[in-house]
Symmetry: C2
DNA sequence: CATAAAAACTTAACATCGTTAAATTAACAT
DNA sequence: ATGTTAATTTAACGATGTTAAGTTTTTATG
């Protein structure tokens, strides 16, 4: 008769053990530079054991992304309690950038690498849950600014505004992560670049009186 | 005595033959998915022959980047003749984005991948030559707008302005290339996102009277 | 307690990759 | 003709992601 040598909880624990070990290695060297055998050695298992819990390396990376998206949502959610909507939006964008610059390998994995069809249905995270979905947080924050009537009157699509703000902050972070050592460019200080982007976007999108 | 079975020109021809074949394969599938053996087969040589001309795969990728940077500078230079400085800047940014969206694998290779120390000294391209250096074109264009007194008076560093504009357009392109299939986001039309970014940056950086 | 079944896990092995070493071919100077 | 040497190829190495085949461990039942 079929025994039940491992409870559901134990399976889950080993799963997160793998994820944590892999995540730890990815922080310092990025996913391409880390091998399945190395992850396995780290937790005292054989490399093939990982395949009992993840279909392949990509699936493991996706699972790590899931935990990272949760970590991002967690890192950002404290900003939701800032009372002034514009201040809230600015602080949120700044915190987002800090996350990207502090964890470049994870940021690269999350937002700079194409993954085969990312579907919320396949994720453990809940879409449109402010605790777990940082993009939903962004949408909410931008929408609050919109409802407060702070944007210029011809800006009528809050989600398009949100995607543009995201793109602006992402652009600064992504260039920094990929190109900081490029000697073709005399890079200005990264904080100055972030500040300039926020200044330009705020001035360009908000009504003049609020600048 | 030393024979000379291959002239300098023939060596150069084979070199560009390799680059063109690799470039061709990279266009459709990206560099990671293309193998040295496949490139070699394409030109009727053995894989090891490539190593007579390039130290390793990374060096080959860098050489391809070189030709791509030249192609980018070429694609953008027609905008330099636009008479109005602001119009010129807008058209230039738009053309840059079109290049990125039309050749996503090359754009990824050029601007979204960290390369081990990119030094102009190691490149065949001439830095600060408007024919070959697209970043120099950008700096020049932004500086012209600056000298025409079109920017808001507290924006006093044209190169910082240029890097911010670049980051803005790059952010839209990069998110599109990496995340277009991400179902967490209800992406707005890419052209609308580009237009929104340009509008926000122009409004945020230029004097009000010019919007 | 003994044993059969099946889950958990490991060892071996495979195909493929980038790359290097050894072997081979071909072209020139003498 | 022949030896030297560049050009090129074939063989091979080590590493990687992954799969197949084995081994150990656990537990429900006789």
């Amino acid at each position: 008769m079929p025994p039940k040598p491992k409870t559901q909880l134990e399976r889950q624990q080993l799963r997160t053990l793998i994820i944590d070990a892999a995540r730890d290695l990815f922080v310092s060297r990025g996913p391409e530079a880390v091998t399945m055998r190395e992850i396995a050695k780290r937790i005292g298992y054989s490399a093939t054991s990982i395949y009992l819990h993840f279909a392949d390396k990509e699936a493991l990376i996706r699972a790590i992304c899931d935990t990272d998206f949760l970590a991002l949502a967690n890192a950002l959610k404290s900003n939701l309690s800032i009372s002034d909507p514009v201040e809230r939006m600015l602080a949120f964008g700044w915190a987002y950038a800090q996350f990207g610059l502090n964890y470049p390998n994870h940021y690269r994995m999350m937002f700079m690498t194409e993954h085969p069809l990312s579907d919320p249905k396949l994720s453990a995270l809940q879409q449109n849950n402010a605790e777990q979905d940082a993009y939903f947080q962004l949408k909410t924050i931008v929408n609050d600014v919109y409802l407060a009537g702070k944007f210029k009157p011809d800006l009528t699509d809050p989600e398009l505004i949100a995607q543009t703000i995201w793109a602006g902050m992402h652009g600064v972070c992504a260039l920094q992560i990929s190109m900081a050592n490029d000697m073709w460019v005399n890079w200005r200080d990264i904080e100055a670049r972030l500040q300039m982007m926020q200044l330009a976007l705020v001035r360009g999108m908000l009504k003049e009186s609020l600048e």
